[in-house]
């Protein structure tokens, strides 16, 4: 419960953001940050809790984006339907990608997930009738209610709400027999099986959930950006997503939120006078330093700060 208060508090802080700014670039950036936070939250669930690796999340991100774009533009469906379709197809792809994880671990599993990301990327480039290929997919509708387009500020709250729901679902699942089984599997597959638990089903569920969130993120991105090109769906982005989850804290409820927002905004903070050419390099160096010196990630640090302020105790239990 205390963890939940922490997460709610953190999210509330961000919720106030649009009130302080009218700069539409800043708002657009924050919306991207929330999208990344949703995706990275799924990775925290998959990797930090269930112990599985995916270096192919950009594949699900692409599936969500192009599915929703296709449903809204080519089939004339409302955005809600497009987004849900994006999530559903991503989840199915996630189930399929979980199959290699029944046998493979660590290094070998990450190779398979990279290959998955590459396959999706190749499809994005070559399936031109559906994706528009390298020349792009245009005219994707922006968020609206009736005939009124939402402002970036309103979209921010929409995304914030979806992020909150995602974290809430993850919180509830973690604090249940399912979450316990996942943390157990993260420690020891065989011992988990001898507790009468099918680790195959758990892996499927974990891949499905993280793929669903990545698909949601992709669909949200498609309607925010208005057009899609293959660039945001490369292997580079997949590894960027993993970096977000790691920097935020793989084993922490808030890891995806902190890392997703942090690593989206960090490069922008570094883009000041004369340094423009180096900001991406500096970002990477900062990521490396965080991983070396704060391997737990920034989420736990923020949490302990929060605990100090509100004088809350820590507990050993993670799922009760």
């Amino acid at each position: 419960m205390k963890k939940l208060i922490f997460v709610v508090g953190a999210i509330l802080l961000i919720v106030l953001f649009p009130i302080f700014t009218n700069n539409s670039y800043h708002l657009y950036l924050m919306n991207r940050a929330l999208i990344h936070a949703i995706l990275a939250t799924g990775l925290v669930f998959l990797t930090g809790f269930a112990g599985q690796i995916s270096l192919g999340q950009a594949g699900f991100y692409a599936i969500g984006a192009y599915t929703s774009a296709y449903f809204t533009v080519k089939l004339g469906m409302p955005i809600t339907v497009g987004v849900i379709a994006g999530i559903v197809i991503s989840v199915v792809a996630g189930f399929l990608l979980s199959i290699p994880s029944f046998k493979l671990k660590a290094f070998f599993l990450s190779l398979v997930t990279i290959a998955f990301g590459q396959i999706v990327w190749m499809l994005v480039i070559n399936l031109t009738p559906i994706t528009g290929g390298p020349s792009g997919f245009f005219g994707i509708p922006f968020y609206s209610v009736g005939n009124n387009m939402l402002s970036f500020g309103q979209v921010f709250w929409l995304f914030g709400g979806l992020l909150f729901v995602s974290v809430f679902i993850m919180y509830r699942i973690k604090h249940s027999h399912f979450g316990r089984a996942m943390l157990a599997m993260n420690d020891d597959d065989v011992a988990t099986e001898t507790c009468g638990i099918s680790t195959k089903r758990l892996k499927m569920a974990a891949f499905g959930f993280s793929a669903g969130l990545a698909g949601l993120a992709g669909a949200l991105y498609a309607h925010l950006a208005g057009f899609l090109s293959p660039e945001p769906f490369t292997f580079f982005e997949s590894s960027n997503f993993v970096a977000m989850a790691v920097v935020g804290g793989l084993r922490h409820m808030s890891g995806g939120v902190v890392g997703g927002i942090g690593l989206t905004l960090l490069p922008e903070f570094l883009r000041f006078g004369g340094w423009e050419n180096y900001y991406l390099m500096v970002t990477s160096i900062i990521v490396i330093l965080i991983i070396i010196f704060v391997p737990m990630g920034l989420g736990p640090i923020l949490e302990s700060l929060f605990r100090k302020i509100f004088r809350l105790k820590r507990s050993n239990t993670k799922t009760l």
Partner: protein, 252 residues
Amino acid sequence: MDILRTENMTKRFGGVVANDNLSIGIPKGQITALIGPNGSGKTTFINVATGVHPITSGKVYFKDQDISGMDINKISRLGIARTFQKIRLFENLSVIENVLVARKPFYKSGPMSVVLGTPKFRKEEKENKEKAMELLKLVGLEDRAYDSPTGMAYGLRRCLEIARALALEPQLMFLDEPAAGMTRDEFKVIMDLMMILKERGITILLVEHTMDFIKAVADWVYVLNFGQVIAKGKFDDIEKDPLVLKAYLGED
């Protein structure tokens, strides 16, 4: 009646025949000991019977149901629990959570009820926590329920592993050297525990090296050597068997 029996069970690791045509019966409600020198195939027997290692040839029957080739989790859910020779706990979970993991098969709430936090799920969670606490009491760990198992004394860790196995409400338990490396007091605790389990009607297969322990608790003994049964019977008879003496002392 045998609750579990194997028929010509064979397990090979490359050239090593770890279990060689074993036909072993474990009588229901009793404590059966499986003994033998190092490397004679005792742990392998447990691993194959519980599905941890796939069987090379032969069959395993649990209550006359063929379980050879079944997934580990299915075998466990039938009511077969085990501990490991080298203790395997979930180090990232607290003591009580370790036990609760093995309660998962008893939960009926799906992901939807969990996310919505339905009263049914809360009730289930409460009941299973009580059950887990009961088991921790049984093994004397109730005071450590919310501690991390990492760094706990060896004897306590072994007790936790037994409590976790019991959480499955098993009919048959495989205990692989539960008293190895224990102090005399801890040893006594495990021995008493086994008698309590037997009273509760749980069948036990015990792998153990300490002869006093076996003499005190075992109703029936199988002796393995090089993956084969070289003797079976009551402890007092086995003790004098020349083949057994030879296997243990390594004489010609």
